[in-house]
């Protein structure tokens, strides 16, 4: 099997698919040229906890599954906790993914960072010291 059962579970029954109207943060990474686009929407409360998160993904099985599992990992966490989640942990949550698909997990990590950046920017706070540079290109192949 190309993918683990865990990954297929997230692919066939992805969690948190959809959009949030008027989100506190929105991020998009990837592009159609590379074959994956990931969008993430977050709602954040005044304790800086991510109370809701939704995603939409155009991409392969791994792209959809990593988006799904990443949203489940950050929901309910504070932004600072969420930012600590690495693509390695996303992969671990799916047990493993094929080497050529590692970029999908990077994409998921970057999509979240992009949404958090947007959240800070909207509040007039410079996101770069907190979020770092969004490496959109690393998310590409």
């Amino acid at each position: 099997m190309l993918y683990t059962e865990k990954l297929m579970e997230h692919f066939t029954n992805p969690k948190n698919v959809g959009v949030i109207e008027n989100p506190d943060g929105f991020g998009e990474v990837g592009n159609a040229k590379c074959g994956d686009i990931m969008q993430m929407y977050i709602s954040v409360n005044d304790k800086e906890e991510i109370t809701d998160i939704k995603f939409k993904t155009f991409g392969c099985g791994a792209a959809i599954a990593t988006s799904s599992v990443a949203t489940t990992m950050v929901k309910g966490k504070t932004i600072r906790e969420a930012l600590k989640i690495t693509n390695k942990e996303v992969i671990e949550a799916l047990e493993e993914i094929p080497a050529v698909k590692v970029h999908c997990s990077v994409l998921a990590e970057q999509a979240l960072k992009s949404a958090v950046s947007d959240y800070y920017t909207k509040r007039g706070i410079d996101p770069t010291p907190i979020v770092g540079i969004i490496d959109e290109s690393a998310a590409h192949h």
């Binding site: 074959g35 686009i37 990931m38 939409k56 155009f58 099985g61």
Partner: protein
């Protein structure tokens, strides 16, 4: 039993029962090396020569013009590299091909380019065709080879081979065609179609994998690319794959015998499939519907990606293929779909269905039933879907 529907006959085919039956004795009893003089060696030799005749009859050439190889890929490599090396010594270092060839041809041409050869990649039009005129205009004094595939493996478009062959004859340029997909679906005849070199492969026509043929017209001499013990009249070394060759001989005979009937049945199924699938909103067909192999259909569904579509189909027991980059592990989506001028989104979202002689109406109805909800589901997840 779990559902299993095989709709990827352009990738490979199931071996025919008859073919397998003919092969087995050459694996189990008459396993002699065809270069030996004792009984089981002689049996192998005569079986190979019988297959050579069967193949010659099927493609309209002489048995001496049939050379066995390990498959379509090797045949393409031999035709192109063998010509290039030979004719470079006469100062001819220019090759003409198209931008929709199989990688066996494209990557070989690219390799030769790195070695100093000049390659012209003719561009197909938006329907997937090159014209004989394009070939004519590209030929120059230094041209050693024109290689244009008979029919494309992704979109099935059939090129004007006879006309291209005629122009090459008139200009004295060798003409190679990769007929791997065309064989057993259209009438392939090397004499009628002015072909000098032709690659064919057994596993696409219900024969075994790992065996192919390069047809080399009498009078043409290529450099060898595989050297060794001097099999295949010193042109292609290596102990002959006897059972494979026997299988190919039977497979081609069976395929040509059944072709008319098969094409008729597949056309009925194909029309039914196209009509039903195109009811899905924002669906389209890639490549012309005219002058196209009957068994090949290439759809695109807007806003979804091919690999996730294939995974969903696989969960339903359906085997198909896509031009999406993700299915090949490479960076780019299908070079063929991009060559038609399709966007990356369309190229990534393609689905190739290839029917075969064993495909049934029930199987097509099953696909028609499961496909629309899968497309809907993936669109719900897709940020590109704006309905």
């Amino acid at each position: 039993m779990e559902k299993f529907v095989y709709l990827d006959n352009a990738a490979t085919t199931k071996i025919s029962e008859e073919v397998l039956k003919e092969m087995l004795p050459f694996l189990q009893e008459s396993y002699g090396n065809a270069s030996t003089i004792y009984s089981i060696g002689r049996e192998s030799r005569s079986a190979i020569e019988k297959a050579r005749k069967q193949i010659a009859t099927a493609i309209g050439c002489l048995p001496q013009e049939v050379f066995f190889t390990s498959g379509g890929t090797e045949s393409d490599n031999w035709a192109i590299q063998g010509t290039a090396r030979r004719l470079a010594r006469k100062g001819k270092n220019h090759i003409i091909t198209t931008n929709i060839e199989h990688h066996a041809v494209l990557h070989t041409c690219e390799m030769l380019e790195k070695q100093g050869f000049e390659v012209t990649y003719l561009k197909v039009d938006s329907e997937g065709f090159v014209s004989a005129k394009q070939v004519e205009e590209a030929i120059k004094d230094t041209t050693c080879l024109v290689t244009v595939m008979y029919a494309n493996n992704e979109i099935g478009t059939i090129q004007p081979i006879k006309d291209i062959g005629k122009i090459c004859r008139d200009k004295g340029v060798w003409f190679h065609t990769d007929a791997v997909q065309a064989l057993s679906n259209v009438n392939v005849n090397v004499v009628e179609q002015n072909i000098d070199l032709m690659s064919i492969s057994s596993h696409k026509i219900h024969g075994p994998k790992g065996v192919g043929v390069l047809y080399i017209k009498r009078g043409i001499v290529l450099d060898n690319i595989i050297t060794g013990g001097g099999q295949e009249r010193s042109k292609r070394s290596g102990t002959e794959n006897v059972s494979g060759i026997v299988g190919f001989g039977y497979a081609i005979t069976e395929a040509i015998r059944d072709m008319t009937e098969k094409v008729k049945n597949i056309n009925i199924l194909k029309n039914h499939l196209i009509e039903s699938v195109l009811k899905i909103p924002f669906s389209s067909i890639n490549g012309s519907l005219e002058n196209r192999l009957c068994f090949n259909i290439n759809f695109s569904f807007g806003s979804i990606e091919g690999e996730s579509l294939l995974l969903m189909l696989d969960l339903k027991g359906i085997c198909a293929s896509s031009g999406s980059a993700c299915t090949s592990g490479s960076l780019d989506p299908s070079h063929v779909l991009l060559a038609l001028g399709k966007s990356h989104e369309v190229a990534h979202g393609s689905l190739r269905i290839s029917l075969g002689k064993y495909t049934t109406k029930q199987e097509i109805d099953y696909l028609i039933e499961v496909l629309p909800p899968i497309v809907d589901r993936l669109r719900e997840i897709s940020p590109l879907w704006k309905n």
